[in-house]
Symmetry: D2
Subunit: 245 residues, 4 copies
């Protein structure tokens, strides 16, 4: 239940030399020497992911469409002693966007595909990389009233598999995170009033609503060497809400 197909790209400077997952060393700073680009990361789940990747040793590039949001997020994370810089990121040029009917499908699916392709050459230069696409539990089940959003998220499950296949030969893994109901400003309509929250929890068959932080660890894991044989997969972080076998 978040705005856009958030895309995370991580590439290792010295991919092969970091290949020491079983030594214990790599786990201390599993993302050392890596650069992470996290889109839509000034708030909510994206922000939690950006923080976590930086804590795990990556240099993180925070990105969003608005300069002031980027500045605020960078300042916060730098204040925590993390290695973070920021960039404003547009989906295409402004004039193009105006002509285009920018639908949810375009933003969530096409932009994710285009951005992945944009970072591939950089990853190849560094010997490999890892992409984590953010879908939603809505990819599996129709959250009422969010039709186009749900469908775009379903498409991301397929995009993950197809990109994984295509980029396999270049040492780039592509995986996907499907958060369930997470407490963010984006999803607040679902939990703001107590009664609504209880009803949603019953329908989603969960004990409690998740926190953005609870989505961050799996992203760091999927980007690390520990996930070296995981590609094309989607992990649901949904607190037990029905997903798929």
């Amino acid at each position: 239940m978040r705005r856009a197909g958030l895309l995370l790209a991580l590439s290792g400077r010295a991919w092969r030399s970091v290949r020491m997952a079983s030594s214990g060393m790599a786990r201390r700073d599993p993302l050392a020497n890596k650069v992470a680009l996290v889109t839509a990361s000034t708030d909510g789940i994206g922000f939690a992911i950006a923080r976590r990747l930086a804590q795990d040793g990556a240099h993180v590039v925070v990105s969003s469409r608005k300069q002031q949001n980027v500045d605020r997020a960078v300042a916060t994370l730098q204040g925590e002693g993390l290695s973070v810089t920021g960039t404003v990121c547009h989906v295409g040029k402004a004039e193009d966007r105006e002509r285009l009917v920018v639908t949810i499908l375009d933003i969530n699916v096409k932009a994710t595909a285009l951005m992945t392709k944009a970072v591939v050459p950089e990853m190849e230069k560094r010997g490999g990389g890892s992409v984590v696409i953010v879908a939603s539990i809505g990819a599996y089940f129709p959250v009422p009233g969010l039709g186009p959003y749900n469908v775009s998220k379903t498409a991301l499950l397929g995009l993950t598999k197809n990109l994984a296949r295509e980029l396999d030969q270049r040492n780039i893994r592509v995986n996907c995170l499907a958060p369930g109901l997470i407490k963010t400003s984006f999803s607040q309509v679902l939990w703001k009033d107590k009664e609504r929250e209880e009803s949603i929890k019953e329908i989603m068959q969960i004990k409690r609503i998740g926190k953005p932080d609870e989505c961050a660890g799996i992203v760091s894991f999927l980007c690390s060497e520990d996930a070296s044989y995981i590609t094309g997969e989607t992990v649901v972080v949904g607190g037990g809400t029905p997903s798929r076998l």
Copy 2:
């Protein structure tokens, strides 16, 4: 492995009065008094479906983008004594299409969604209806070299679920057919030469390649009263190729 999100819309003139599935009667002409609009139906799977629906009692409207293809298909089916008429169907007006970058995602997903919504009012007037969307086994697994096609088909799985949910209250069911490898002109690159065919069959773990006719029965079934409690589902017609649990 077919061109576009083929959409089939069936609406019953006298929905409730046909509700006699267990009497045996309805099964003789399971689609009597129904009108079926079959897009992309002048060739291959679409044509096989159109023929079958007409054989099962529906009046079928054959549709495609080219007048001469429509004329040929209508003539053939009328020559078999079937109740068929034709119409040329554009995805939007020509001038719009030129401005728009008509990608596979637009054609397969947006056009399918728009066309379904276009037929809903007519179905409501008749008391209900049935939509069958045609996806592909590529929706589940990345057929190499067909990335955007595969992703658009994955999106259709989600579209099926979401439309089913939305249209539930209006007595409209929405289901999906996912053909595996079917012998059509569209898929001939995969089976034209014998050696290629054998290798594809091994990879797809099938004994033989399917025929367009073998996709038609399930569509007729899903449109009939016999499927009254089936909605939001996708049926794979793939000869045993790996699909999903």
Copy 3:
């Protein structure tokens, strides 16, 4: 939500000669010249399936563990002019069962596997056949309080795929039906009181509870020549309840 892994086995006397699905003829009596063995078929979904297969032209063998139930079902169906006989069917010999701790897993999974294997030689003699295994929506989602039942139904999804693969070379197709919430005596605890019914419908996200008849058409379809390219698949009959993509 039904007792046991109901197994349906259909074998065609003259398989190849019936291969005329597109002629319209086969659809009049799609199961003519076939013999259907339906286990657990004296009540509920099994009974609805047995009746439907007989209406569609098959000779049906009704089967259950209790003689009087079999007699009653046979009498009812013969009274409707259908070609039906009965047999009492035990899972193993009585003395074996007493020694064995007959768990749900044993009945639902092992018995289904064993019975399928028992009918294979007969099907082979006739040139082929079709098996439809009955699982449940519980195979996909944990219906609370029914753990072992749910797990056994999940196993049936895998059994379907594995038997389909194994029996492919012998012209035997194996598919599966997963009913959602159907109004039977087995499931009455879920719908007997009105308030409970409304709550269940909300959780299952369905407009109404299904009827046994609504599970019968798909079984007849899967057994017919129309499903000649469908094997290893599960069809959910759940009225739109969340299932899987």
Copy 4:
């Protein structure tokens, strides 16, 4: 492709006090103060998991059916400075096993269910815990010649969901690992000769066969606080082999 439903149970001594995942601290020794019981862990994937959990701070109890295998594994891991002890673990008493027809379904499914239930009281005393069940890619697709094995693994996907649901209120999470083709003695028939390996890689659509170590990180992750909102899920470690959406 491994022998039995390997079960991993982890319980935190001071569950709530360890709740500091975002502080960076917890990640240094993510499993500190935890006790891990790893069954079937003297070889292959189980052994790799046991080692990794110990490296990540847990006290590990290695377990298997044969005393000498347990002794050897414990000695090896203690020699690496890890906190490890061993225990011989039988599925039931020997005399029981002789009477019982111990099928694969019994070992893989029933034993996993029983063992989980056996460790629940201990986990509850400690305030919670985490169970990771090991299934296989065979759970999703029928590996030829391994029918009962595959079906038992499919059942484990359902068991994971059902146990997750049941144990939710006791602060116990239950997840599942589905390894693809991993280089172990168990799977050597598939890769021992070079030609066979190449053919298997093509069918499984993978670039290379995985290593036991590559299955270990995800188990440690799923047991850690970082996975606090992940329950009922299966993660495939298959190098991009077709799995499910």
